[in-house]
Symmetry: C2
Subunit: 198 residues, 2 copies
DNA sequence: CAGCAAAGAGAACGATCGTCCGCAATATAT
DNA sequence: ATATATTGCGGACGATCGTTCTCTTTGCTG
């Protein structure tokens, strides 16, 4: 069998995770099966499991990869905007755009993973919680900046802002995935604007 | 003809579905397995599948049962309030209470099923869509009533109201299931109130 | 009372699950 | 150049998946 160079090996692992994210966004992290993923990659089950050790570690690596893609898609394009309200608005723009043209066929991966594992204790649950906590904390920090600078009214709870914007995004993802109607995204963006335009 | 009396048969089937809903709320409709459910009920796999015909029909029956429970928990206690804003507020109250003390261990079943099947075409997807469409239409109708009677400002889009309230509930369910922190519910209720107090 | 319809148990099926072992081939290090 | 470590394949394992078959039990019906 042809052996591959080091860069190709690295690329191979990244290709593996890319396929894993695609698959899991549709069938869930539990439906992400060693056999199915191996088939899709044209490799053997044992070769695939050798890369990650176990299904659970494959799930964790896939979740990490999806979280990276999410941050790249939603936070990175907004990070050039000045902190506070402008950046929050840029995040909302990028977020809604991401929901409308998701990098994965099954919609927002984090939403799927969060709902799938929110009631099942274990390492995957802990990882999902960490990712979500970090993202909400980021939103909360931007909201705090906006409040301190007077862009949002004093007395506003930054946690409320983070929670509401996140809920609107999750709801928009569900609605859009279910009905494929872009109006869900517009509604979400409008509701986000209402939260930020006080 | 039924082996047992009519009420006992109904009770047995209802007990089966009750266990199915409990189980599926945690592990999902796909994780709802014939073998696991049969074990939990102390009966054989063949006996269980004989009641429904196939796993898919078991999933559909379970979804229907969960939708009934949801309507009983959220809409029924609010249905005595006068139509319009008062009823919308009563629905929000009951909804948040339902999320905080869900009849199933895994949180809102409909949210789980919706996210699980939103990207997988098939009868279950269609059933989930029907349930959600009906529920959103109900919310929308109440919002329309509130607008017509002047309880909500003219020009308000009733679909926006329905979407936003639903998104807040879905977001609250995720957040609460993930962190078991009741503040998520209070935030959701406050954000709902903000939508309804314009 | 005799006969029938239905329910459920038990067992088996092919398929797939996650995991592990042994072996061959390759890359790296000495 | 030789030794070592890593990679991946083929194959097998026990378990469980959904489904289907036969057979027994049991209540209803005529």
């Amino acid at each position: 069998m042809p052996r591959r160079s080091a860069t190709e090996v690295a690329g191979s692992r990244s290709q593996t995770l890319a396929a894993a994210v695609q698959l899991a966004s549709v069938v869930g992290l539990e439906g992400l099966t060693i056999g199915r993923l191996a088939d899709r990659l044209g490799m053997s089950k044992s070769g695939l499991v050798g890369r990650f050790g176990s299904k659970e570690q494959l799930q964790l690596a896939t979740l990490d990869q999806a979280a990276d893609i999410f941050r790249r898609s939603v936070y990175k394009p907004a990070s050039t905007a000045p902190p506070g309200l402008a950046r929050l608005n840029a995040i909302c723009d990028a977020w809604v755009a991401y929901l409308g043209r998701p990098p994965f066929p099954g919609g927002c991966f984090l939403t799927t993973a969060m709902v799938e594992f929110d009631a099942r204790p274990g390492p995957v649950n802990a990882a999902v919680r960490t990712v979500m906590r970090g993202w909400l904390a980021l939103l909360e920090r931007e909201a705090s900046t906006a409040i301190e600078s007077g862009e949002l009214p004093a007395g506003t709870d930054p946690k409320d802002v983070a929670f509401t914007i996140n809920a609107l995004a999750v709801g928009a993802n569900c609605d859009f995935q279910l009905n494929r109607n872009p109006s869900s995204l517009q509604r979400a963006r409008r509701a986000m604007a209402a939260v930020l335009d006080r």
